[in-house]
Symmetry: C2
Subunit: 210 residues, 2 copies
Amino acid sequence: MKIRVAKKPADAYQHGDLREALVDAGVKLLTEGGLDKLSLRGAAQLAGVSHAAPYRHYRDKDALVAAIAERGFRMLSASMRAELEASGARKTARKLVALGMGYVNFGTTHPAYLKLIFGGALSKQAGPPSLYEAGAEAYDMLRDVVAAGITSGELHQMDPEEMALACWSLVHGLSMLIIDNAIPKPETRERERGLIERLVVLLGRGIEND
Amino acid sequence: MKIRVAKKPADAYQHGDLREALVDAGVKLLTEGGLDKLSLRGAAQLAGVSHAAPYRHYRDKDALVAAIAERGFRMLSASMRAELEASGARKTARKLVALGMGYVNFGTTHPAYLKLIFGGALSKQAGPPSLYEAGAEAYDMLRDVVAAGITSGELHQMDPEEMALACWSLVHGLSMLIIDNAIPKPETRERERGLIERLVVLLGRGIEND
DNA sequence: CCTACCGATCGGTAGG
DNA sequence: CCTACCGATCGGTAGG
C-alpha cells in the first residue's frame, strides 16, 4: 500500500476548513495587492486548490467578498472600541476623538479593507444578515456616544443621526484622502494621531471664532 | 474616380481631433459605466477607430486617464466657483458652505469622476504639469477662503492648511459615503443642499455646547 | 490609422 | 475537489 505524499503548499487548507482558508487567502490578496487583485481564482490558488473548488463553498465571487467584508467590519469596530477603551475618556468630546482615531488608524493601516467595505464593491444585493450586523456595529458605537452626549448636554441639541454623520464624514474623508495620497501621509504614527486629534477637536469646538 | 463613402459611426472623430474625441469617449465610458468600464479599447471603439489607434496620441492608458482626470479637476473647481458666486456670500462661514455645496454636488453628480481624480487610479508617476495645476485649483480656492477668514478674525487662529483639510475631509467624506450608498442618498436636491449646509455649519460652530 | 497577434486574467460551467 | 473548457476583456506590439 502506498503512502501518499502531501503535494499541497504548506499554507494549503487543512481538511474541511477550505471555507475559512479562502477568506484568509482573499484577505491576503486584498491587503497585499489591493481590491483589483482580489479574485476567486487567486484565492483558490493561494489556498492550494483548483479554481473551481471555491464554488463548493461560495455561490459566486460576491459571496466570498461578503465574507471578507464582514471580517473587515468587525476589525473596524474592534479598532474603534480598542481606542475608546484605551483612552479612558469620560467626556464625550474625548470619546469622539478616540473613536475617530480608531477609524482613521484602521483605514490607513488597512486601506484595501476600507475601500472594500465602503467602496461600493459590495454587491448591493442580499448578503447574509451577519454582514449587516457587522456593518452596523461601528456606526452604532458612534451614534450611541453622540446620543449620550446630547442627552447629557455636552453636545448641541440636534438630530443625533446627523451629528454622527458629521463625525463619520470627517474621519472617513480624512482616511480616504490619506489612503489615496491626496494629502501627504503623516510621517509617523504620532503625527497622525496629532492631526486626527486636532481635526476632531476642531469639529467639536467649531472653526468660527466667538 | 471613386467617391469614398463614410463608414465611420456618426459620433466618430472628425479629421485631426481624435485626441479630444478619445477623451470624450473615455468620459462617456466613465460616467456611464464607472471606473471599471474605462478602457483604451472601449474609448477607441466609441470613437470609431481601431484599438491600436489611441497609441498614436497617448503613450498608454495612464496618459488618457490623466487627460480625463484633468477635465474632472476643472469641472470640480468650476462647480465650487459657481456655487460661491451664486451664493453672493460675504461672510467666510457662508463662503465655506457654498464651496462645500459645490464639492458635494460635483461628487454626487459625477461619482466616477470623483473616484477617478481622488481614487488613486491616477498613476502617481509624472503626469503633465497641467494635471497638477488643475488639481491645485480647487484646493487653492478653499485654502484662500480659509486663510482670508483667519486674517479677518472670522475663523480661529490656526494653521490654514489644517483648517482647510478639516473642511475638505468633511465634504469629501460626505460625498464618498453618499456615492457608495453607505448612507441613504438624499431624495431631492433640496434635501441634499439642506444636509450639506447643516454639516458645514456644524463644522463652523462646533458640535460642543458652550 | 489598420489588421492580426500575444500573453494574461477573469468568472463561471460541464462532467466527472 | 479536479481537469478542461467557454466567452469576454485587457493592455500592448509588430508590421505595414
